[in-house]
């Protein structure tokens, strides 16, 4: 809603461009440069040779365009494996989350039995307690149920820790599903399941896109859970591999900078292409109406 209104505001600006606006524009430009600078410096570093790192100023540009650091990062991160792992954990977790949170939130919104009201509050507890606060028992239970060092184990945990927010998010979208359609389907003899999968789920696609991008960015960037759950080399994620690269190479960090660029790129691309949904997910509850 807010973004539609924003568009109107852009078309017919209610404020005139005064001297104050110009001053604000200048201040914000300086701030924007300050915010972007570290990112540019990372990219700049990632193209420097080891020699340039020691001999030239961190602010100078690399003398030639070379991809050596990227090649090195590719090997040192064991990128073929870690990238696939991270991608797999993220993709499977968010798809399961989209499916589960959709069904759960819908059932909670539609069924009036008291148990479902209780369920909602039960799930919300998980938003108030971030999993990081419970990392120790989460590690212990994973260890005892043989979930550690398995692919399904870490995916299970990402789903379990993401479900609270997912249900909350999906629940806030339920008012966009017209109940008349569901009733019509039911009169036609559809079961609850069929109603959900044929009528409701297609309407929830924007909500699911929102959920998927919000969770994908969390899981892709997660370090604590991944570092606790996987120690086997062939199961490691990008952030875990990057951390070992950071601690192993404190002096020659051009490779680490290339690794950073590699790990940020996919999520940046995902964000750029799904920006609209991302912002919708962030602002749930922040805007009235």
């Amino acid at each position: 809603m807010a973004w539609n209104k924003k568009k109107q505001a852009e078309e017919a600006p209610h404020q005139r461009y005064t001297r104050t606006t110009l001053l604000i524009q200048i201040i914000m430009s300086v701030m924007a440069v300050v915010f972007i600078a570290p990112l540019l410096i990372i990219i700049n570093y990632s193209f420097k040779t080891k020699k340039e790192l020691y001999l030239t100023s961190p602010l100078s540009l690399p003398s030639s365009f070379q991809l050596d650091n990227y090649k090195k990062a590719f090997d040192k991160l064991n990128l073929a494996t870690t990238f696939t792992n991270t991608f797999l954990y993220t993709a499977v977790s968010v798809l399961i989350l989209a499916l589960l949170c959709g069904t759960t939130a819908w059932a909670i919104a539609r069924c009036r039995a008291r148990f479902f009201k209780f369920c909602y509050i039960y799930f919300i507890v998980g938003i108030l307690i971030p999993y990081q606060a419970l990392f120790l028992p989460i590690y212990i239970i994973g260890y005892r149920l043989n979930l550690t060092n398995t692919r399904y184990g870490i995916i299970f945990m990402y789903v379990a820790t993401g479900i609270s927010f997912g249900v909350f998010l999906m629940n806030s979208f339920m008012s966009t599903v017209p109940i008349e359609l569901e009733e019509a389907a039911r009169i036609d003899g559809c079961s609850v399941f069929r109603t959900y999968f044929t009528v409701v789920m297609p309407l929830l696609k924007p909500a699911m896109a929102t959920l998927i991008i919000m969770q994908a960015f969390q899981i892709w960037n997660d370090y604590l859970l991944a570092s606790l759950y996987v120690s086997k080399k062939e199961l490691k994620t990008l952030t875990v591999a990057i951390q070992s690269l950071f601690s192993a190479q404190t002096s020659d960090y051009t490779t680490a900078m290339a690794a950073i660029v590699i790990s940020v790129l996919p999520i940046a691309i995902l964000f750029m292409s799904l920006q609209k949904y991302f912002i919708k997910g962030m602002t749930v509850g922040a805007v009235k109406g």
């Binding site: 914000m28 924007a32 059932a107």
Partner: protein, 294 residues
């Protein structure tokens, strides 16, 4: 009538089947660990042996005496309060500035937002290099002599971490405030103007009350986000220098996973959970009561 009842029961069963998988996963993955933390916190379990000797409240009494635990909480609280204030103020200022009719609003929005897409682990490393290499080079360039080695001294490490964390998150909360600002109907401002309210009065009496839901979300989000700080520290300060930047989770990790004191570590986790729940309840209650009813 009877048929209707059985049909409703049948439907309820189907709804239940839809909720059940999520409920089970959530219970195993989060609620049971929560209960386990409480249980283990009353034992002196070392994480390996089969028996978990019951010690009553000993762990909690020890925690109160433990200087390392106290300093971890002290750091975490300072970090949290600093973040909550700085991030809220900056995010709101940025949002108001972007909403003031400046050109190319989208460009600024993206510039401030992008850092939050990066993993906190990477942010820690980037600022480690910023403080140790890049900013001293800026000093050289400008001929100034600011002390940028913030992570090297126990007195400045907190400000260094606050800079890193705010760099990462200000844009995120700014977007939430921006969405809130843009949802405020323009006629409210017009009405205030007609009544002779100045810019500051309009901000105080129209903008802030109308932003209340966004403020609730941002304050609660920043507080919980700061209380759980860990990833940022792993790659930047490693809890140091000394113990100057050891957070509660960092300390719990060191005690339980490295020090093999699972019982004692569980008591630390429980303390954090209790604080998180209390803070969330107090903030939601306090802030909700200030929200305007529409």
């Amino acid at each position: 009538m009877k048929r209707n009842n059985t049909m409703e029961k049948n439907m309820e069963k189907q709804y239940l089947l839809l909720v059940l998988p999520g409920l089970i996963i959530f219970t195993i993955g989060l609620i049971i660990p929560l209960l386990l933390a409480f249980r283990y916190s009353f034992t002196s379990w070392d994480g390996m042996s089969a028996e978990k000797p019951f010690v009553g409240f000993k762990n909690y009494l020890d925690l109160l005496q433990d200087p390392d635990f106290r300093s971890a909480w002290w750091f975490t609280l300072k970090f949290t309060i600093g973040n909550t204030i700085i991030q809220n103020v900056l995010a709101l200022l940025f949002a108001v500035a972007l909403d003031s009719g400046i050109k190319a609003q989208k460009v600024y929005r993206t510039a401030f937002f992008v850092p939050c897409l990066i993993s906190a682990l990477i942010v820690g490393f980037v600022w480690l290099k910023m403080f140790s290499n890049v900013l001293p080079a800026v000093n050289e360039l400008l001929g100034t002599s600011f002390n940028f080695l913030l992570f090297g001294d126990g007195k400045t490490v907190l400000s260094g971490l606050l800079i890193a964390n705010n760099w990462q998150w200000v844009g995120y909360w700014m977007l939430i405030y921006l969405a809130g600002l843009q949802s405020i109907p323009g006629d409210l401002y017009e009405a205030a103007k007609v009544d002779g309210a100045g810019a500051w009065t309009r901000f105080k009496n129209v903008t802030i009350p109308m932003l209340a839901p966004a403020i609730t979300i941002c304050v609660v989000g920043i507080t919980t986000g700061s209380l759980k700080v860990y990833d940022l520290l792993v790659s930047s300060t490693k809890g140091g220098p000394g113990r100057a930047s050891t957070s509660v989770i960092y300390q719990t990790y060191a005690t339980a996973i490295n020090g093999r004191q699972y019982g004692y570590g569980s008591a630390m986790s429980v303390s954090l959970v209790i604080v998180l729940l209390l803070v969330a309840l107090i903030q939601v209650k306090g802030l909700k009561s200030k929200e305007v009813q529409q």
